[in-house]
Symmetry: C2
Subunit: 417 residues, 2 copies
């Protein structure tokens, strides 16, 4: 029998999260970091800027989990209630930390800015809390004990949260808590396979009781597969995962594009650099997204020769030399125009590989012959031209564009690898 | 006194969410839709694909909230446990729905595909549940009563979730539940103002007890401000919000770029179209992101003449005609090169406005004079050239690129409006 894995919960705070202005991405990042310490996050909770509601939530979670990490609600504005709620849940008053106040004043002075009065709120903490300095922003975090559970409070802005997590919270957790049973994780990222086909090909690897446990999720053409092994020792967990991973690599050799980074562009830049190839892009319906995905990689300039966003028919002709007669005869969304775009991009940039994307992203502009979701891809490899058609489900403009950009970059991968 | 607003909770299900593979965006969309019916979502919960954990979560939330809406975990694979957990929480067995099974078989046959065996799982529901058909995918949803609360289960993929929400769940809620006290909401999206300056300028509009209640959040340069008014009647709530909104528009006239759509590019396309202006883009460090933001708008082709992604120095010269000597003398990240890029883009495309972006997105490539975060913007308006410098905090590559793309599009807005 394995010992109990220590359990944790993450809380994200903000009316804007509940209002759907944007999703909580902090809790996922925190959970990933805690997993490496053997602490399993079992639950994320998102609550608004209501002190009472947050106080009750923190109290309940600290009674149930050994570690609770929350992010947000410690900024300078009046809707930042986390300090008050944490103090109330711990049953202690707020106290002004004179050192933090001085630090705040100095850090504003250094940037030649006057400290807004509201920033003073950021120097108050629940009595007895351990302050965690903020190296990249103005809101310090803190740790406080509530009914046996440890509550850590981090800032809401993702880069401040990540910095304080890495610099302050993780080292403290590592030194304070012993290690639980060992976990090992392996991820695979696949393109070009529907989820239900994957499920059938993966078979009983996906059973609920399996160790390693396999999880899969599909998102605009990308399958993310996670293997999680658990054993008494780190070596044991790693061996379990390594054995399954070896079989997995064999079964899905053609579809795996990455084992560490989900970003399609980053994986492709790495592949192109290793092969010494140069790529050019000509985009219509994706409007720059494929280029953007490619340049997410810091080293993209090594392999990315040039990109064109030729959204209008005139731009396709003026910038890429596509014959206007071709567009009139076949339409902008056609094999012929896709190939001409790829050819133009390759010739003008000197790249040896060029891919072009032209399609109907919707919501308007679809016809019975060329419905929303139809996309043509043109490929030029060493001067040789080809074209591929894909029909994506007519979901929404954003998803169709993302699907199409992923497929375009994957076409290059399959040709180059 | 106002009556009690009906309270709800959202649950998102999936190990991949807890693993931080991507954030839960469904709950935010569901909360926005429920708010329009006067149902206030007070809490989001994310749990993994563990039947026991989910069963307990659903049971607890249904005891506390009148409406619980969950998404995910009803796909064909073995890690889809929502059907089982909902049945267990309701204390009823699962039953095969023969009609749904037949529908599943037919929908596969129509697409000339063989139904994978695992898809049969999608035809089982808790006994007594009301099935909600899925018009855009294979997993039907359902509604079931658990201890007085109504649990609605929607699919996880966002486009399927949204379709079933709009087509099935909202009409049903509208016909079944009466209206609670009225809520009215107004949003503003601002660029070019730090959050703490905003807070000082907004003053007591942001007090916790204010009605309308004002919330603000900052994200890569964008401030999202939400006013939420509450009153006995819809007219009363709207009047409260309208009065504050009028004052707000006056105080932040220069910074507001949108009142409905947060997407900077969409707002700019609307503005350019209303003024009959045409835009060209020349991007280096943003690598296509500005073009991508602009073409999120379905009508972008009206105003977007052409875009170049000239990531390398050679591409800047070859594609945009930037004098190589200029790059040698001033460096690629400079006012001179930014202006030359904008000029090249305007001349080659015939657009009357062009904006160019060249900067150090990091993580490498920074120097003491040109640190990570330094970005130069070049602007060509009717042939007249100018340049603007911005120094973003050296957070991370993705945020710097996003900041820079937002600022570039905002520069155009401020010149054109």
């Amino acid at each position: 029998m394995l010992g109990e894995v220590r359990k944790a919960a993450c809380v994200a705070i903000g009316d804007e999260l509940l209002a759907g202005d944007y999703p909580d991405s902090n809790s996922g990042a925190i959970a990933q970091a805690l997993a490496e310490l053997g602490i399993e996050v079992e639950r994320f909770v998102v609550v608004g800027d209501s002190k009472e509601n947050l106080e009750r939530t923190l109290y309940d979670l600290c009674a149930r989990y050994q570690v609770v990490v929350c992010s947000g609600g410690i900024g300078p504005t009046l809707d930042d209630v986390t300090r008050d709620a944490a103090a109330a849940a711990a049953g202690v008053p707020l106290e002004l930390d004179a050192k933090v106040l001085e630090w705040l004043r100095e850090s504003y002075a250094r940037r030649n800015r006057k400290m807004a009065l509201s920033n003073e709120r950021q120097a108050w903490f629940p009595s007895g809390a351990q302050v965690m300095p903020n190296a990249v922003g103005t809101a310090p975090g803190f740790r406080v004990w509530i009914d046996g559970g440890m509550l850590a409070v981090l800032p809401g802005p993702p880069h401040e949260m990540r910095d304080m997590l890495q610099r302050e919270l993780l080292p403290w957790l590592r030194s304070t808590c012993g290690q639980g049973p060992a976990l090992a994780t392996q991820r695979f990222y696949l393109l070009g396979l529907p989820e239900s086909n994957f499920s059938d090909r993966a078979g009983d690897w996906m059973a609920r009781g399996a160790n390693p446990l396999m999880g899969v999720t599909a998102h605009t053409g990308i399958l993310k597969v996670t293997l999680r092994g658990r054993a008494e020792s780190p070596e044991g967990a790693q061996a379990l995962v390594a054995a399954r991973a070896a079989e997995f690599r064999e079964r899905f050799a053609a579809e795996i594009y990455s084992e560490d980074d989900p970003r399609v562009g980053v994986a492709l830049v790495r592949l192109l650099a290793s092969k010494g190839r140069k790529l050019a892009l000509a985009e219509s319906c994706t409007g720059g997204l494929a280029a953007e995905l490619l340049t997410e990689a810091a080293g993209a300039s090594q392999v990315f020769q040039a990109g064109w966003v030729t959204y209008s028919n005139e731009a396709k002709s003026a910038c890429l030399g596509v014959d206007p007669a071709l567009i009139v005869r076949h339409g902008a969304v056609s094999a012929e125009v896709a190939k001409a775009m790829a050819q133009g991009a390759a010739q003008r940039s000197g790249a040896d590989v060029a891919v072009a994307i032209t399609g109907v992203a919707g919501p308007d502009g679809g016809t019975p012959e060329k419905p929303v979701g139809l996309v043509w891809f043109g490929l030029s490899v060493g001067g040789e031209l080809s074209a591929v058609e894909q029909r994506f489900p007519p979901v929404d403009r954003t998803s169709i564009r993302r699907y199409a950009a992923h497929v375009a970059l994957d076409l290059v991968r399959r040709h180059v690898r």
